[in-house]
């Protein structure tokens, strides 16, 4: 359970995860599934780095920047090649994974913790995808871009330590 609530409790994580799903929906197929597939895969590598104890500076800053950048990409309705979107998401996934990974060995049950945080992360992506589906509605795109703006603002708040 602690693994499951770990990504959900931190608003910086929630904002970035939802943004990944949201951006994937915005970019359309195949990004809608490629980004939520790339994220946990690279996140696991970041998590493994955290478990092993490899040094990674600026983890919290990286997580906050992920919200700022991903939110801005949604706000600006930025379209880019799939590979570059995957690289951006992958880079941020390392920071998120590392933050979870350093807590993994101290968890009461590391396996449950790992399962919990991967599943929670995935569900947040799916929540982002579901939210992004409103783009099909009239004014839905405006709504989604506004959510992107909120994510960017929240990210800036995390970065400056206001939130």
């Amino acid at each position: 359970m602690s693994g499951f609530v770990h990504p959900v409790r931190g608003w910086d994580h929630v904002a970035a995860m939802v943004a990944v799903g949201l951006w994937g929906t915005f970019l359309g197929r195949p990004a809608i599934w490629v980004l939520p597939v790339v994220f946990p895969l690279v996140m696991a590598l970041g998590g493994a780095a955290g478990v092993i104890g490899l040094p990674l500076p600026g983890v919290e800053t990286g997580i906050a920047i992920s919200s700022v950048v991903l939110g801005a990409l949604i706000l600006g309705k930025v379209r880019m090649p799939l590979w570059s979107a995957a690289v951006i998401v992958g880079i941020f996934a390392i920071f998120h994974g590392y933050a979870h990974g350093i807590e993994l060995p101290t968890a009461a049950n590391p396996v449950s913790f790992a399962v919990g945080f991967v599943v929670a992360t995935g569900l947040l992506h799916l929540a982002g995808i579901a939210l992004g589906l409103v783009t099909a509605l009239p004014r839905g795109e405006v709504f989604v871009r506004a959510v992107g703006g909120l994510i960017t603002a929240a990210g800036a708040g995390f970065l400056l330590g206001i939130i």
Partner: protein, 189 residues
């Protein structure tokens, strides 16, 4: 819905059968392998039922003989989870293996499941009956999960089901990588 009931019953029996008989690390590896193998049905479908059955039984038989004469390999759980990672990647990529490759993968699934079913206590060949029950329960769970995936994801299924299967595959890989990382650092099992 029948597939869900079958899967639940097979997995619960699987858990009961394994409880106390299999080391905890292999228990985790076994569950991850069963889920990964069940989800990868679309990658392996070209093997066909007959070839798949022969390949699976061949893998089980060869591994059983090897276990009997050589004993369980060192780091069995890491090997099994590592193999599950490969299956998860194939599922996430919606890779479609040709007949020969699919048969080889199914052969390896049978081998890995057998390696992951070695009882903690008991000398070979006494432990063989326990291992056989574990392998049968695991195979049953894989078949039920495969059936469930086929039901959920027919050719004309809505796009979200296909997306869900791919995302599921990536979760398997992510969890497996983390489990390997933790097990390499701590004796947590």
């Amino acid at each position: 819905m029948n597939s869900i009931y079958l899967l639940a019953s097979a997995l619960s029996q699987f858990g009961e059968v394994r409880a106390g008989y299999i080391p905890a690390d292999l228990k985790v590896a076994q569950v991850i392998l069963v889920i990964a193998a069940g989800l990868s049905i679309h990658c392996l479908v070209k093997a066909g039922i007959r070839r798949a059955s022969v390949a699976f039984c061949g893998g089980v038989a060869l591994s059983s003989i090897a276990l009997l004469y050589v004993g369980p390999p060192y780091g069995s759980s890491t090997f099994v989870i590592g193999f599950a990672v490969v299956l998860g990647v194939l599922t996430a990529m919606r890779f479609s293996a040709n007949t020969a490759t699919a048969s080889i993968i199914i052969f390896l699934i049978g081998s890995a499941l057998t390696v992951a079913s070695v009882p903690a206590n008991g000398e070979f060949p006494k432990a063989m009956s326990l291992m056989a029950v574990n392998v049968i329960a695991g195979a049953g769970a894989i078949i039920c999960l495969s059936r469930l995936v086929v039901n959920l994801n027919p050719e004309r299924a809505p796009a979200w089901q296909s997306i869900a299967i791919r995302i599921g595959g990536s979760w398997i890989v992510a969890i497996s990588v983390l489990v390997i990382a933790v097990s390499s650092q701590t004796n947590f099992f």
